[in-house]
């Protein structure tokens, strides 16, 4: 197995981009990543594209070939593969790219993610997102995606001493970080009161506990570490790539408030990288809802179950804390174009490790990403380090 490095990154501004099509989005992100790595298209050996539901969002399947075509690679006949694992599609596309380079099957690989979510009515978006869970036995009876995470929150708050204010502080922190990120959908700070007085979506979760609906794309370029310095002075090494699965339906989990797939993927990643939690300087976690960030911090192993609310309140996870969590603003403030999110997490960690994160720069040698599909049926964890 070869060591793998990230040699280029690109990301669109996230938001409700009425004037941008699906094609505009991925072309913009891809071009930025190629420019960053000083590459031209014909040097690309393979593409992996994370996308959850172009079929339902823009009525277009066969995304792999479409992207290769519009990237000008049809004449090169460059292999291009769509990767789907609901909201973890991006993280999984990155993992497929890492696998391709590590195995020696390809040298220069693009791992990208794209989602265009605002071309359909909001009710249809809610329904499409519900298909990340069990359509037949959850969605059919009326369980929405926020509703499933709300049931995690109800269970969690019944068993552990998490307060409504602590939960709100997750959103407050992520908006603070988003306000310092030029690609974030929401670049303004909010107060606890903004969260607590926003409308209920599914009790106890309110509008400001939920990540928004977002258009956006992100792309990164991978290469064997041994040749990475040909393309960049600041290669970032992939120290671990781990993935785990669990039951598709929340009701079949061992424990409603623990994402066992996060626990498994985290353990596998730390084992691969031969690192421990104290080596991690920052983490991008999958905060599709505030409760999801609380569970993620615990299930990744950074504290014991029930403690993440207190940690958030004490500022441990803040930009200037001991373990900054979601310096990008997370899904909550940076936005959540589902298929692109996993790649945007890598984009953020690489910026931080290169020292290019501007107003939200933290002191970091090693960073982690955590990308979740559905309510935890797929989890992808990566560890990246300066090299």
């Amino acid at each position: 197995m070869k060591d793998v490095a990230v040699i280029g990154i690109g990301c669109t501004v996230f938001g409700e981009k009425w004037s941008h099509s699906f094609r505009d989005l991925f072309i913009e992100a891809g071009a930025l990543a190629l420019e960053d790595a000083n590459l031209s298209g014909e040097q690309i050996d393979s593409l992996f594209v994370g996308n959850m539901s172009a079929g339902r969002f823009i009525e277009q399947e066969h995304i792999g070939a479409l992207i290769a075509d519009y990237a000008g690679l049809a004449t090169e006949h460059t292999p291009s593969t769509r990767v789907e694992a609901a909201c973890a599609s991006g993280g999984l596309a990155f993992r497929q790219g890492v696998t391709a380079v590590a195995s020696g099957m390809a040298d220069i690989v693009v791992a990208a993610g794209v989602e265009k979510m605002t071309d359909v009515a909001p009710g249809q978006t809610v329904d499409t997102l519900a298909s990340a869970a069990d359509r037949e036995w959850e969605g059919f009876v009326g369980a929405t995606f926020p509703g499933l995470y709300a049931m995690i929150a109800t269970d969690y708050m019944h068993r552990y001493p998490l307060t409504r204010e602590q939960l709100a502080l997750v959103a407050v922190k992520n908006h603070y970080n988003g306000a310092r990120n030029p690609i974030a959908q929401f670049q303004q700070e909010i107060s606890i009161d903004t969260v607590i007085s926003s409308s209920l979506v599914a009790d106890p979760l309110r509008l400001f506990d939920c990540s928004p609906i977002t258009d956006g794309a992100a792309a990164v370029i991978l290469a064997p570490l041994e040749i990475a310095r040909k393309y960049t002075d600041t290669p970032v090494k992939v120290l671990a790539s781990a993935q785990a699965s669990d039951t598709i339906a929340l009701h079949d989990r061992r424990d409603i408030s623990t994402l066992d797939a996060t626990v498994a993927a985290s353990q596998r990643a730390f084992h691969q990288a031969r690192l421990s939690h104290k080596n991690i300087d920052l983490v991008e976690v999958h905060d599709c809802f505030t409760i999801a960030e609380i569970c993620a911090i615990e299930d990744l192993g950074f504290c014991t179950k029930g403690e993440a609310g207190k940690l958030t309140e004490e500022g441990v996870t803040a930009l200037n804390g001991d373990l900054p969590v979601n310096t990008s603003g997370g899904l909550k403030a940076c936005g959540h174009p589902v298929g692109a999110t996993g790649i945007k997490q890598i984009y953020e960690i690489v910026q931080q490790l290169r020292g290019e994160a501007g107003k939200r720069q933290v002191d970091a040698q090693i960073g982690m990403t955590h990308n979740v599909g559905g309510t935890g049926a797929t989890v992808v964890v990566h560890i990246l380090g300066r090299s």
Partner: protein, 129 residues
């Protein structure tokens, strides 16, 4: 959901017919034709659940997908049946009458209407016992 896709699961949806693995004794609802515990050694038979259980966790849905937009607000819960398995279902009661641990029993109810075609779906909901 298409008529055939719904109709295929009518015994399960209307009457809580699930499955049981004779090899290990585990009960499954929603039904499984393959025992995840015994895998190839499992022998699966149908099982009619009593429909009594208790609430594990719940929420009140305020923003729904198109099919349920007219039904909001409504309660969704994970119910643990007395035989062991858990399922997701609507609880037909007032929000103030549900707690974690509330005892519930199954009832046959209208679940929703399919878009413009107007097909009405029925299924199992629960009410406080």
């Amino acid at each position: 959901m298409s008529v055939a896709r719904f109709w295929r699961k009518i015994p399960q949806r209307y009457n809580l017919v699930g499955t049981r693995c004779v090899t290990c004794g585990r009960y499954y609802f929603p039904p499984r034709s393959f025992c995840p515990s015994c895998r190839r050694e499992g022998k699966i038979i149908d099982h009619q659940f009593t429909g009594e259980g208790s609430v594990v966790t719940y929420t009140i849905i305020r923003t729904a997908s198109e099919q349920f937009e007219n039904a909001t607000p409504y309660i969704i819960a994970i119910v643990q049946l007395d035989e062991g398995p858990r399922l997701t279902a609507q609880i037909a009661c007032r929000p103030e009458d549900i707690r974690i641990g509330t005892r519930v029993k199954k009832v046959f109810r209208r679940l929703g209407t399919e878009g413009k075609s107007g097909v009405i779906h029925y299924g199992t909901k629960f009410i406080p016992a």
